[in-house]
């Protein structure tokens, strides 16, 4: 009951204390630290964890104030990185989760897609006071903040299970980039899988790996790991993709973020690969966790809030520093949904149209 009374006090003086907390807490540093500490953490998940840590620092007790603060912090975080797309998908999901769990305190879980398991703790009686129920949600989040990371890793395992059905024996799978999800999917498929009622034997497939010089280190690691697990891997340079396409049966790539129309934002070159696959009529699959889905809806390659500085015309007459742009460190491109056959997500395998529907249901 002390909580409720505190809440009343804070409501009377809504901004005192909370602001001081918000200012002293450096969300950007926290985000980068989390990413560094756990190399397996995805950007949206790191953003969510950073926000939870922030909640732990803030003393706010009212719902609306918190939602407001989370919004400010999210904006701060988004402003601090050059490419905020994946990150914003995480913060959007988190604020939506907060709103949903406060709307229906006891049984909010179902409506929030993949989040159903991370919702309300034990079954609890319906709470009349929204501030009290909010405190429950807050405490639950703080206690279980690490759960998000664990779940993210579990999601990768579930993708491997969902995706292996689509990797057939005696086929060649083309992939690129250093996606952890794809690496895990291919590695797991090459081992046997125990469904409980049936043990699926290892899939016998080959992997053709397109190596992007910019991502050479990540690619090397994935290739070495796959070869270690007994998967025959051939590497080709990006320039040989069209040439090699005839030997390929399927293309599987990872994604940084999944857009509202069921397209993907991924490392530069993915779009080229998708176009080539389409031209050769090879199915193009994307392995991505549901938490990467978001409201971003680019109409073309340049419809982003930031300039990547990839295209840069200049001649010897160009004055230094005037027209020369610097290319962004990890450039991305947008692959439209028309080029994508299906998504291997952690909850199911779905088409781009179904992704669009889920985004509307989950986040709008």
């Amino acid at each position: 009951m002390a909580d409720v009374q505190d809440g009343a006090v804070t409501r009377d003086l809504p901004l005192r204390g909370s602001n001081a907390d918000a200012e002293s807490f450096d969300i950007v540093a926290t985000y980068h630290r989390l990413l560094k500490e756990d190399p397996d953490l995805t950007m949206p998940m790191a953003a969510i964890e950073a926000l939870i840590e922030f909640l732990g620092h803030s003393q706010v007790k009212t719902v609306y104030e918190t939602i407001d603060l989370v919004k400010t912090q999210s904006e701060k975080l988004q402003a601090a990185v050059r490419n905020p797309i994946a990150l914003s998908h995480g913060t959007d999901l988190f604020s939506q989760y907060l709103i949903m769990s406060l709307k229906q305190p006891a049984s909010s879980s179902g409506s929030n897609g993949s989040n159903n398991s991370k919702s309300s703790p034990a079954p609890q009686p319906p709470l009349d006071n929204p501030h009290e129920s909010f405190e429950v949600v807050r405490q639950h989040l703080l206690r279980n903040s690490r759960l998000f990371a664990t779940r993210a890793k579990n999601a990768r395992e579930r993708i491997a299970v969902n995706g292996r059905k689509h990797l057939h024996d005696d086929t060649t799978i083309l992939t690129m980039g250093g996606s952890r999800v794809v690496g895990n999917l291919l590695g797991r498929a090459a081992q046997k899988h125990d469904y409980g009622w049936y043990t699926d034997p290892p899939r016998q497939f080959r992997v053709l790996y397109a190596v992007d010089p910019a991502l050479a280190a990540e690619s090397e690691a994935v290739v070495a790991s796959l070869r270690g697990q007994g998967v025959p891997v051939a590497t080709v340079p990006f320039t040989a993709l069209a040439y090699a396409m005839a030997t390929v049966d399927k293309v599987v790539v990872g994604a940084e973020a999944v857009t509202a129309n069921g397209g993907i934002i991924s490392s530069m070159g993915t779009y080229s690969l998708a176009v080539l696959a389409k031209a050769s009529r090879k199915p193009f699959y994307v392995a991505a966790e549901q938490h990467k889905f978001g409201k971003t809806f680019p109409v073309d390659e340049f419809d982003f809030s930031f300039d990547q500085g990839v295209i840069n015309f200049y001649s010897d007459n160009t004055k230094e520093g005037k027209d020369k742009k610097v290319t962004m460190p990890d450039p991305i491109d947008f692959t439209p949904p028309e080029l994508i056959e299906a998504f291997f997500a952690d909850h199911k395998v779905l088409t781009p149209d179904e992704v669009a529907k889920e985004v509307i249901d989950m986040l709008m």
């Binding site: 509202a260 129309n261 419809d303 669009a356 509307i360």
Partner: protein
């Protein structure tokens, strides 16, 4: 009470009229005969039951509530039925059976539905929102009868047209401001779906006269359905004054949420898609598109605008003036001459939807589809702006099922249709106040909206 009985078939007819929206009408004639069959069946089974229900409802009300309210209701109901019957017979005489399918007087989306289900509530609406003017419904608008002078080919008789009702023929109880609005709608001074909706909401009490002036747009139908819902939510014991006050408040909130704020958000989101160096092509003039362009300009984006105009209504000139006044570089073309050349230079195409159908088709000024198809062919992105109130649950695969005839250009030999339907595949992005989606996600947004209610 005899009028009541006559009224019943007229009411039953619109209800089956909803069925064809799933099975597209091949020919209106076929649909019409179909409906006549259904209608007659309904007349036997449903109509009696319905009137019975409605009557019992109103008598119930009479028993419980103040006598005046119930009286008003019964009176309004009877009058409405009588008017409907008259409207129907007049149409039947003039046009034969084809008129039944969707009589021009009530093209409005949901017109049938609303009338069929809103029976008892209708009275309540008239009583509660009717500003104490039950007589409003009394005089059957004679204008509806005179309208038959305009001749259009039989196969297009399901389409409707704005009518200029001479001021002298209008019901004497119509408020002057509404009279003005009606005339503005009929003469297309107030033209866009959303502006008409706003004006209508503000003048909701005189809806009958307004729909007589120009057929309802889809958003007006949506809003009426919403208003009926609000009316049904009102406590029956509430006083008339109280009910009126609540309704007016609800209408104000509705306008603020679904139109004013929605427009602001859409403007901002739409403007975000305009980048430095873009050449934005648009067709005719629409307030939302104009706002989005002005907003993008105000944020410092450097771009130019290409206006393709509709030769029948050169509203683009107005847009060109507004934009050049703000210092935006504008290229203007009065018609589609050289459209392909202009389109090659364009980078993005902006439209605003008059309505969005549930299959993702966009209902907009005639000619929009041609521009969108060419944009698609040349690989340009088409961005449609639309408030969610303009999304209808109806489906259109062609431009003939739902349309309006230009009253200025209509004869038995030739006439001009005012709208067309652009299939979803020609639209890259639909910007609404709920978020940016694909055009074919329009029904998902509808579903989402129902969840909110």
């Amino acid at each position: 009470m005899s009028t009541e009985q006559n009224g019943a078939p007229a009411e039953a007819a619109p209800k089956p009229g909803e069925a064809p929206k799933e099975t597209p009408k091949e020919t209106p004639k076929e649909a019409a005969t179909n409906q006549n069959e259904k209608a007659s069946k309904d007349t036997k089974a449903g109509a009696e039951e319905k009137t019975g229900k409605a009557e019992s409802k109103s008598t119930d009300a009479a028993g419980d509530k103040k006598l005046t309210g119930a009286e008003l209701k019964a009176k309004a109901k009877a009058e409405k039925a009588a008017r409907r019957a008259q409207q129907k017979t007049s149409k039947e005489v003039a046009k034969g059976e084809a008129a039944v399918s969707s009589s021009p007087g009530q093209l409005g989306p949901s017109a049938g539905e609303v009338k069929a289900k809103g029976k008892g509530k209708d009275g309540a609406l008239a009583a509660a929102a009717g500003a104490g003017r039950p007589t409003l419904l009394k005089a059957p608008p004679s204008a509806v009868v005179t309208e038959q002078k305009i001749q259009i080919p039989e196969c297009f008789s399901h389409l409707s047209m704005a009518r200029r009702i001479p001021m002298t023929q209008a019901d004497k109880d119509v408020h002057p401001s509404v009279l003005m609005l009606g005339q503005q709608m009929a003469t297309f001074t107030i033209d866009e779906s959303i502006t008409r909706l706003k004006a209508t909401l503000l003048a909701f009490r005189k809806i009958e006269y307004l729909t007589a002036c120009r057929p309802m747009c889809f958003s007006m139908g949506n809003a009426i359905r919403w208003l009926k819902l609000q009316v049904s939510k009102i406590d029956m014991d509430a006083s008339e004054e109280q009910a009126k006050k609540e309704l007016c408040q609800a209408i104000d909130v509705f306008i603020a949420e679904r139109i004013t704020v929605a427009d602001e958000y859409i403007t901002e989101q739409g403007a975000k898609h305009i980048k430095d160096g873009d050449v934005v092509l648009t067709y005719g003039r629409n307030t939302l598109v104009e706002k989005a362009i002005l907003y993008a300009h105000s944020t410092g984006t450097k771009f130019s605008v290409l206006i393709m105009d509709d030769p029948y209504e050169r509203l683009g000139q107005q847009l060109a003036k507004t934009l050049t006044d703000e210092g935006i570089k504008v290229t203007y073309s009065g018609d589609f001459g050289g459209l392909r050349n202009h389109m090659r230079q364009a980078t993005k195409v902006f439209f605003a939807a008059e309505a969005m159908f549930s299959n993702g088709a966009m209902y907009a000024r005639a000619g929009t589809c041609d521009v969108a198809m060419l944009a698609h062919e040349l690989g340009k992105k088409v961005i449609a702006l639309c408030e969610t109130i303009n999304i209808t649950e109806r489906v259109a695969t062609d431009s003939l099922t739902y349309n309006e005839i230009d009253p200025e250009r209509s004869s038995a030999a030739a006439f001009r249709l005012m709208f067309d339907a652009t299939p979803d595949k020609y639209i890259s992005l639909l910007v609404t106040e709920l978020g940016s989606v694909q055009a074919r996600s329009a029904p998902d947004l509808l579903r989402k909206l129902e969840e909110f209610n």
